[in-house]
Amino acid sequence: MPLELRRAFLILAAIVVMVSLIWASRFDEMPPAEFSFQNGTDPKTLDPHRATGQPESRILFNIFTGLLEELPEGDPDPETGVQPMTPQPGIAESYEVSPDNMTYTFQLRDDVTWSDGVPITSADFVWSWTRMLHPETACEYNFQLFGVQNAEAYATGEVKPGDKVEVELWDRPGETIDSEPAPQTFPRGTIVHGTLKALDKPPKPNVPEDATKEEKSKATADWQSEWLYTVDLARRDGDEILWDDVTKTVTYTKNLQTPLAKEDTQRAHNVLVAFDQLGGVEAPDPTTLIVHLRDPLPYFPYLTAYYPLFPVPRHCIEEHGKPMWTRPENIVTCGPYKIGLRKLRDRVRLVKDERWYDADTVEIESIDALSIESQNTALNMYETGELDWVTDPPVTLIEELKKREDYHAAPYLSVYYYELNTKRPPLDDVRVRKALSMAINREQIVREVTKAGQQPAFALVPPGIAGYTPAQGNRGSLEEAKRLLTEAGYPGGRGFPKFTILYNTSESHRAIAEVIQQQWQNNLNIKADLQNMEWGSFLDKRQQQKYDISRAAWNADYPDPNTFLDLFLSKSPQNNTAWKNPRYDELLSQAASESDKVKRMELLREAEAIWADELPAIPIYYYVGLNIIKPNVSGLLPTPQDTHPFQTIRLEPTP
C-alpha cells in the first residue's frame, strides 16, 4: 500500500473518531418533568383495546377518560390506609339505572372534546365498543363488555339462523375481491344488514390427535372460512334498518374456493350479530348513551371507568390506521394528559391537556413515566432525586425500607396461589389437595420470605371488596393433614408419587417454592421437585396442563368477587386446573342474573366456600401494593386496585 494512502487513511481515521465523538456528545437536552415515576417495563402499546399490563394502564387511565372515572371517595380505611375508589362522573356527567339494574342511561357532558378539538359524542362510544368487541381487534379484555346485550356473540363470532346480522363485504380500502385481507380492520368494508337464513358448513376436517395447538387452531380457522352464510338482506331507510323488509337473499363466504359456494356467492369478512343495531348500546342523540345489559351486573359502573371501555378517536384511527395512530405525532386523546413525547425504553412524557373538561383541577403540568425495570436502579434514582415515586421497590431491601416514612404498603385486590392439576393423580383426590394446603405454614412465608406485610390466604377472594365477606376457608391443622393423607392411601407420605412445582423464573417465586417444598417434606414426608421456566414456556406448560403444581396469581380486573371466581368456571380459558364443579358454575350464573345485591354476594360467597373446600388451587397469600413516594407528594394513596389518577396528585414545594 503506498505511503500517501496510508497517511491519508490515518488522517481519515482521526477525522472519523473526532466526528463520531462530536456526534455522540450531542444530546437534545430536555427540561425534567415536574413529576416522574417508575413505570416498570416499556408500555407495549397505547391502544386501549390492545393494552393489558400495568405500565400501559398507568398511562391510559390518564390520557383517556371513560363515561365514569374511578376517583377517591370518602376517607382512607383507618386500619389499612386504603383509599376507597368509586366510579364518578367522567365524560358522562350523570347516569340513571333502571329499577331492574338492566338499563343504564348516560348523560354526556356537552362540552367534551378530543385533544384535537373534535367533540366527543355518544356515537363515539358505540363505535369504540364495536371496535373493542370486533373479533379482529383481538382485545384481551373484551369480556368486560359481555354483560351488554349481544356483545358476547359479536365478539366470539357465534351466529345461528334467525339472528339479525351484519355482513362486512370484502372491500376494505386496498382490497380486491381475491386479495389477501387488508391489515387494517378499520375503516371497515361496506356493511350490509339482514337476517341469517341458513348457515352451511362443510364437513369438519380430521385433525390428527397429536397435532400441535397451532395446527389445530389453523385447521379450525380454515374450516370456518369455508362456511356459507345465506342472508335475507334488509331494506335500509336512512339510519333505520327494516329487518322484515327483505330486498333479496345473498350467500356470503370468506373463502370463495369453498365447495359450498354458488355462482353468485359474494366474499365477505365476517358475518356477525349486528351488535350496534340491536339496542345493546344506543345513541339516540349526541349526548345520550343507553346501554341495555344482559345481566344486572352491579359492577357495570366500575367497568365503564376501566380503560378497555374508554372511547377511542374514530377519526384518528381511520386516518392513520393501526398501529400508526398511537404514534405521539398522531395520537388523539381525551384525558387530563396527552402524550408529549415517547421514547422507547426511556420514557413517556405526559403533558397536561388544557382542553380536558376538568383541566382546572389538574395541577401538575408534565409527568414522566420512566421505563425502569430494575428495582435497584429505580431506588437509586429516587434517592438521588431523579424519581418521585417508586412503584416496585427492591424486595431484598423491604426490611430496611419498612422503617421509612415514605414507604407505603397497603393491601390490594390480588392473590398468589398454586394451581393444582386435578387431572393428575394423586392431585385428583380432594383429601390430598386439602392435606397439601393444610401442611403449608403461610405465616412463615409472609413473615420470612415476602416480608412486606402480605396476608396469609385460605380462600380465593382478597378482603377489601365492599359488601362482600370472603369465605373463611379451612385452615386445618397438621394432624388433620396427616390424617387426610393417610385416608387417601399415603400414610406418613409413603408411596406418594414425586411431583414438580413449576414457577416462572424469579427470585421471590423460587424462595416461596423452596419454603413450601421444605414444609411438605418436613410435615408430610412428601418430596416435590422445583422447576423454573421463563415466562413464555411457563405459560405454555400451564395452559396445556402439562404440570403438577404451578405458581399463579391474579389481579382484580374490577372490584368484585366475580373477577376471581370466574377464573375457575369449567369453561373458563383461565381454568388450567381441569377442575369442574356444576354447582359452582350454577351459583355463578345465578349470581350473574341476580339483581338483589345482597343476595348476589351471598351466592358468590357460597361459590367461594365450595372452591375453598375443594381446593383446585392452594391459596397462599394476598398481595400488598408497595410504593415509595416523596414526602412532598400528596394525593397519591393506596387504592384497592393499585390505580392512581394523576389529576389528584399535588406537589408541595420542596424546602
Binding site: L5, A24, E140, P323
Partner: protein, 309 residues
C-alpha cells in the same frame, strides 16, 4: 488500490453468506423454542390467536415464512412489525436504540483507548517502578471484575459517596459518563497490557536502539519508532473489543436504565418476539462484521507487511 477494492468486495460476499446463515439458524431456533409470542396469562381464544398469527404471517408454512421475511428484508429493508412492541416496527426499534448503543460504545472505546494506551506506554517506559506494578495490578483487576460489579461500585462511589453523576437515565453527557467508564474500563485494562507488552518488545528492537544511539530525544523515539509497532496488537484487539462493548452493554443498560438496543435483544428472545429477535441478531451481525473489516483494514495500513486478503 485494486487489492483494497477486491478485499472489500470479498468481505461483503462473506458478510452476505454469514448473514444468511445467521438468519437461517435464528429462524429455526426461534420456531423450535417452546411457547408462542401470543401466550399471555389471559388465554386467547384459538380463532383470535389464529388472526394474530395471520397478521404477522406466522400462519403460513414455515418455508413460506422463511422466504417472505427474507424477501421483505432484501427488497424493502423491512424487518416487519415487532410482535410484542405493537406500536413499533423493528426498523423503528433499531432506529431508536442504535444511536444510544452507538454513542455509548464510542465513548467507552475512546475512553478505553486513551486510558489503556497511556497506561501501557507509561508502565513500559517506567518498567519495574512502583507506578508500573500498580498500573498492571489494576489492569489485572480490571480484566477480572465483570462490568456489572464495576457498575455497582461506581454507583456507590460516584453517585452516593461523592455525588458527581446522576444514578441512571439517558439524555445528558453526565448521564453517559458512568456507564461509558464502566463499559470501557475492562477494555482499557486489556489494552494497557497489550500496549505494555508491545512497547517492551519494540523497545528492544535494533532500530530503536539505533535511534537512541543517534541521540534522538526519548519522546521522539517512543512516539515515532516504538509506538506504531507496539500498537499493532491493540489494533487487532479492537475488533473483539467492539464486540465486547456492544454486547457487554446489555447488563449496563439495565443497571443504568439506558434505552439502547441491548435490552431489546434479551427481551425479544424471552418474549418470543420473533421479528424483533431476528432483526436484532441481524443488526449485531452486520455491526460486528463491519467493525472487524475496518480493523483488518487499519491493520494493513499501519503495518506494511500485512497483506489484505
Amino acid at each position: 488500490m485494486k487489492d483494497l477494492l477486491g478485499f472489500l468486495i470479498r468481505r461483503l460476499g462473506w458478510m452476505a453468506i454469514t448473514l444468511w446463515a445467521v438468519y437461517t439458524v435464528s429462524f429455526v431456533l426461534m420456531r423450535a423454542a417452546p411457547g408462542s409470542p401470543f401466550s399471555a396469562e389471559r388465554a386467547m381464544p384459538p380463532a383470535i390467536e389464529q388472526q394474530m398469527r395471520a397478521r404477522y404471517n406466522l400462519d403460513a408454512p414455515p418455508l413460506q415464512q422463511y422466504w417472505d421475511y427474507m424477501w421483505g428484508i432484501l427488497s424493502r429493508g423491512d424487518l416487519s412489525w415487532s410482535i410484542k412492541l405493537e406500536d413499533y416496527s423493528v426498523n423503528q426499534v433499531i432506529a431508536e436504540g442504535f444511536p444510544v448503543s452507538a454513542s455509548l460504545a464510542i465513548f467507552a472505546l475512546v475512553f478505553a483507548i486513551i486510558l489503556g494506551v497511556s497506561a501501557g506506554v507509561i508502565s513500559a517506559v517506567y518498567r519495574g517502578t512502583v507506578a508500573d506494578v500498580a498500573m498492571m495490578a489494576t489492569a489485572v483487576l480490571g480484566i477480572a471484575i465483570p462490568n456489572f460489579v464495576l457498575a455497582s461500585i461506581a454507583i456507590l462511589l460516584f453517585v452516593f459517596l461523592i455525588p458527581l453523576f446522576p444514578a441512571a437515565g439517558w439524555g445528558t453527557l453526565r448521564q453517559v459518563a458512568l456507564p461509558a467508564i464502566c463499559l470501557g474500563l475492562p477494555v482499557a485494562a486489556y489494552i494497557a497490557r497489550l500496549t505494555r507488552a508491545g512497547m517492551l518488545e519494540s523497545l528492544s528492537r535494533e532500530h530503536v536502539r539505533t535511534a537512541f544511539a543517534k541521540g534522538l530525544p526519548k519522546r521522539t523515539v517512543i512516539i515515532k519508532h516504538v509506538l506504531p509497532g507496539a500498537l499493532l496488537p491493540v489494533v487487532s484487539y479492537l475488533g473483539p473489543a467492539t464486540a465486547g462493548v456492544l454486547t457487554g452493554s446489555l447488563v449496563l443498560e439495565k443497571i443504568f436504565a439506558l434505552p439502547g438496543m441491548g435490552s431489546h435483544f434479551i427481551y425479544a428472545a424471552t418474549q418470543r418476539d420473533t421479528t424483533l429477535a431476528t432483526g436484532m441478531v441481524l443488526t449485531y451481525t452486520v455491526l460486528l462484521f463491519v467493525m472487524n473489516t475496518i480493523v483488518d483494514l487499519a491493520y494493513a495500513v499501519i503495518d506494511p507487511r500485512v497483506e489484505l486478503e
